[in-house]
Each structure stands twice: as structure tokens, then as C-alpha cells.
Subunit: 352 residues, 2 copies
């Protein structure tokens, strides 16, 4: 009986993986020559090189990256992590994250890096460095800083190269890339005020840095218009899709009149609108709604969603560039990307 081990080719069935020595033998040269040929070294004879390259190609031989990395002491793999709340054991659901992930994959590929993806329970964020510590990746891109400010700072103290998508905070030792959340919140709120709305509900978890900063922008806009901030208009809801529903239901329960909603994500805004509709509230006539992110669906939702646009592709490129610079010992600064308000029907056009 043949004992077969997980994660390893079976001894009997699979034929041995092709390796450089095989190519060398078939080409009648040494492995050194093959190595040189495959790296397009000018040292090797043009014809020999052509022969070797052709041979390798036809046999689909590909250099063993693990061995190559070991020898070269290099590594072209980056970890991407998305924290999730352990208790809610929720599937990833926000389209914004998917777009971000796709853009990060693109940006990394563009730079010739592979992406090692993991979800990570927010209770075990200290384990986030494992892929780095074990040499599987050269650095970490963390999408969403959550409540982990301190833990991330500790990673930096341990010299773990990490770049975070999130909001800038005081005492922040790590490099952080994010949109200008305060300005975003301010623009959204100002727009609602300009539309004549005065009782604007805010939906978002103030325990998280990004919603908090959006809320600060919201407050700033209100105060600039001489309108006091009413805490009864603020509802703390998570980023999960039912947050929008819960936010609206809470407002209804509070019996607090409101004529607008500013939600901290498009997903929240959309489920909030759906819930408003089930309560017979018209959007934007009775309640205007603005979201945050500007995901693809926002422009197709009914009513078309007004939202604060986050430049995802630029964000991903910035994060990747920052991480690589960090690893190279180059200069790294946190970046706030500019945000733009995409004005659509859910919080109508201004009559210019």
C-alpha cells in the first residue's frame, strides 16, 4: 500500500517535475549554461541559447521559483489581508472590497509581484505578520485598519513592512493610504445642505477611523452652516449589508424626523434606500441619500446613487508603490487621495 501525503505529488502516479538538470541533459550542456540561457545572459552562445530556450518552452519548463528565491535571497510575493470580525463570521460582501482586491492584484502583477491573499480574524491580527516572518512574502497590504491601530503600530515596531488602507491617525507609525475622509464627509453634507436638507442622518460605525473622519467632515459642514450637530441623527451600524436596514429602522424607532441620509458606504446607502422604500419613504423627495465609495452599481441603482468617489485604481497603485518603496528603504509618506462627489439622482442635481 502506498502512503500518500497531502500537498505533495503522489509517489506513484505523477511524474517527477521537470528541472533544470533535465533540460541540461537534453541539451547536452551544464545546468550553469541553462541557467544563463534562461536569464538571457549574453555570456552564452546565441545558438546554444536559442536551442535551450526552445527546448524549455516546448517542454513547458519553468524555473523553480522557490529554489531561485532561496539562492538569490529574493522574493516577489506580497501579502494582502482583509480583516473580518470573528463573531459575525460573515462572508465578504462589500463590492468595494472586491474592486479593491482586483485593483491590488492588477497593480502587483504590473510590478511583477504575486499576491498571497488571506482573510484574517480581527482578534488575531498579531498573526498577520506570519507570512512575512516565514519569508513567504516581503510585505503586507492591509485593507481596512478597523480597530487595530495599536496592533499595526506594533508590527511596524517589529520592522514588518506594512501599508494600510484606512484613515490617518495621530501616533500612527505605519504608512496609511486612504481617501480624504473628512473632506468627503464635508462635501457630501454640504451638498445635502445646499439642497435645503437640514436633518441629515449619519450612518456609520464611529469606532472605526474612516467613518469617524467622515462624521467629522459631516459635523464641520453642519457647523459651518450654523446648524448644530444632533446626536439623535447619528446611528452606529456596521459595514455589513444589513447595516443600512438597521440604521433606517433605528431612525424610525427613534421617531426622529430626518430629510437626508449620509451613509459611510454605498452598500449601506443602497440597503438604507431599500428599507426607506419599504417604509413608504420616497428617495430623494422625502429623504435624500448619499453614499461613499462610488462602486460600479451606484450608477445603476434606482435612484442613481449620489456618492463620494474613491479612486480605487489609484489607491491600489499608491499602496503597492508605497510598500515597495518602504521595503527598499526609500522614503514613505502616508497619502490622502482626493475625493470627488458623484452627484446623481438620490441627492438631486443642484439647479445651477
Amino acid at each position: 500500500m502506498v502512503k500518500v501525503q497531502r500537498g505533495q505529488a503522489s509517489i506513484d502516479g505523477a511524474r517527477r517535475r521537470l528541472q533544470m538538470a533535465d533540460i541540461a541533459r537534453l541539451a547536452g550542456v551544464s545546468t550553469a549554461t541553462v541557467s544563463r540561457a534562461l536569464s538571457h545572459s549574453p555570456l552564452v552562445n546565441v545558438e546554444t541559447r536559442a536551442r535551450i530556450l526552445e527546448l524549455a518552452q516546448s517542454l513547458k519548463y519553468s524555473i523553480n521559483v522557490g529554489a531561485q528565491n532561496l539562492r538569490l535571497k529574493q522574493n516577489r510575493t506580497v501579502s494582502v489581508m482583509i480583516p473580518f470580525e470573528r463573531d459575525t463570521r460573515q462572508h465578504l460582501s462589500d463590492p468595494f472590497l472586491l474592486a479593491m482586491l482586483g485593483s491590488l492584484a492588477d497593480a502587483l502583477t504590473e510590478q511583477g509581484f504575486d499576491m498571497l491573499f488571506s482573510r484574517i480574524g480581527s482578534d488575531e491580527l498579531d498573526a498577520a505578520a506570519a507570512p512575512f516572518d516565514s519569508g513567504r512574502s516581503i510585505g503586507i497590504l492591509l485593507v481596512g485598519q478597523g480597530r487595530h491601530h495599536e496592533q499595526i503600530n506594533e508590527l511596524v515596531a517589529r520592522h514588518v513592512p506594512i501599508v494600510v488602507w484606512g484613515a490617518q491617525l495621530p501616533d500612527q507609525l505605519y504608512c496609511c493610504v486612504g481617501s480624504d475622509n473628512v473632506r468627503g464627509g464635508e462635501m457630501a453634507t454640504s451638498h445635502l445642505l445646499a439642497l435645503g436638507r437640514r436633518r441629515i442622518a449619519f450612518l456609520g460605525d464611529l469606532a472605526l477611523p474612516e467613518p469617524l473622519q467622515r462624521y467629522r467632515g459631516y459635523c464641520a459642514a453642519l457647523e459651518r452652516h450654523g446648524i448644530g450637530v444632533d446626536p439623535r441623527l447619528q446611528v452606529s451600524v456596521s459595514f455589513l449589508p444589513d447595516g443600512g436596514m438597521q440604521g433606517v429602522q433605528e431612525m424610525v424607532r427613534r421617531a426622529e424626523p430626518f430629510d437626508a441620509v449620509f451613509a459611510s458606504s454605498d452598500l449601506l446607502a443602497m440597503t438604507a434606500i431599500d428599507t426607506l422604500r419599504t417604509h413608504g419613504v420616497r428617495v430623494p423627495d422625502d429623504v435624500a441619500v448619499i453614499g461613499y465609495d462610488d462602486i460600479a452599481q451606484a450608477a445603476l441603482f434606482h435612484p442613481r446613487l449620489t456618492t463620494v468617489h474613491q479612486p480605487i485604481a489609484a489607491a491600489a497603485e499608491t499602496m503597492v508603490a508605497a510598500l515597495l518603496s518602504l521595503i527598499d528603504g526609500g522614503p514613505v509618506r502616508s497619502v490622502e487621495l482626493p475625493t470627488v462627489l458623484s452627484i446623481r439622482a438620490s441627492a438631486g442635481e443642484l439647479l445651477a
Copy 2:
């Protein structure tokens, strides 16, 4: 001047990565003993082992997985790929994909495997095997077979371990995991017929295996009810979010009356409903709508979306199990997971 190279720690700034020899020196033993201690070998003295483990832990030393893999000829990394259409250069946008990705990450982690993620242009699917050929991963999980049936077959002929999320096809050499698309299409259509709908529009790209099979189920249900299939009710649209809009607009342009829509994804169903609404059509009163996937938002959408549920977590576990079995040379069969109709307001409850 110090030349710094990408993907490599800078020579000056970063301190050398800790390695086994360091731990050995500090513990006053040989690397062999450290290796044994870290693998909890009973060969090493209990006290020595404790001392070494403690030392390693406090120094955050972690075995270099690359070197370990090379020595052990093992590898615990799996590639996950999502093809995208090169021309539309579209960001990933379907929440279903994100949920799938998250579940795959969970299932792989559960089995102690890492996930190497890449998007891959559908024109270069033959390059999908690169991570496998170069020994970075031991197999491939492809999410979405698209139009790549033949290319995937070729990979299998090359003995590349691959498991695909998609539909079962004739002449299929690869292992395929998917939901029972025909049955799903049939259930959705039967439900609409039972609601008294007779002119059911079908939205989906028949060039793709999954929508095609859902369409077959749709046709089967119609015929069983003695209703002919009307090609004017079928609109080919992509899985991109604006597909729903385009589908409805096309139906309107055709001036073809219809009282129901069966869309091949929830995303399409949702944007279709939004577009119907802008045309003043009431859902479900004028037109009932059923989607496919049962993503988290479906239950929160207005109206609550009736949809064919795909068991994502089970799907991911099945795919991972199949791939590992395939790699171990074990038996592998394609699997069709059962589908259930989640009945909600968009295609109302049956009055029992």
C-alpha cells in the same frame, strides 16, 4: 552609493532576517536540534526543546518556508484565478465572486494552505499554469470557466491539477464543481409559471456554459407547461452590472410584452429591476423578477429578491477537497451541488 534592488531588503537599512543558525547559536545547540525542536520531535530533550521554542517565539523566529519546501519537496500553496474579459478591462464587480473568494480563502486556510490569487486575462488562459509550472503552487482553482473549455482541457492533458467552478460539459476532462444550473433554471421558471406569468424574459450570455444551462432549464420548464420558447424573450447580456440595464432596455426596444424576468445573476436581476423602475414598471406587480446566486444583498434589496441559492461555502469546500484529492492521485468526480429557490417578494410567495 548603495544600489538598492526591488523586492529585496536594502543592504544597509534592514537587519538580516533571523534564521535557524541564529537560534542555534543563541541556544548553544546545532541547527539540527533546533529543527527537531521546532518540529516537536520527541528525539530532543524536553528541556532543550522548551528552551528553543521559547527563544524562537520571543524572537518571532519563523521557519523559512521557501527553504523548508525546497528541502521537503513540498508546497502548501494553491492558486486561485478569476478570468476577466480583457477588452472591457472591468473591475471585479459581482459580489458573488467576492463571497466565493472569501469562502475559498477560508476553506484553504482550514486545510493549512495558502492562497495565491491572480486575475487572468481570458485571452491568456494558457498562462494560467505558470504558477504551477514554476512550483509556486501545487494546483489551480479557476472560478468561472467562461469560454475556456478547450484551453482547460489542454491544461489537464498537461497534467496540471485544476478544479473549475462552472458547468459540466460533454468532453470535459477537468473536474468541475458547480450548482445544478439546469435544475435551478427550471425551478425559477416553474415558479414564475405557477405565479401565472407566461411571457418570461431570460437575461444571460448563452455563449457561457452556466447561463446556457440555466436557459435550458428555463426552456424545459416552459415546454413542460406546453408553452413554446420565444427567442424574442431571450437577451444576451454580460455578467457586468450594466447587463441588467441593457437587457431591460433591449426588451423595451423590441416592444415585446413580458411579465417576468429570469436573470442569470442577482447583480443582473437587481440592475434589471432598477431599470424597470425607471421605465415605470412595477416589480413584481407588472413584472416578476428572479435572480441567481442569492448573494447577501438579495435579501435586503427592495423588493426582496427571489433567487436561486448557490451554496457558496459548500462550493468552496468541495473545490478545495477535490483539488487536494486530485493532487494526491485520489479519485475525483465533478460535482453538481443542489440548488434551492429562495422565494421572496420580487416573485411573490405562492398562496399555498
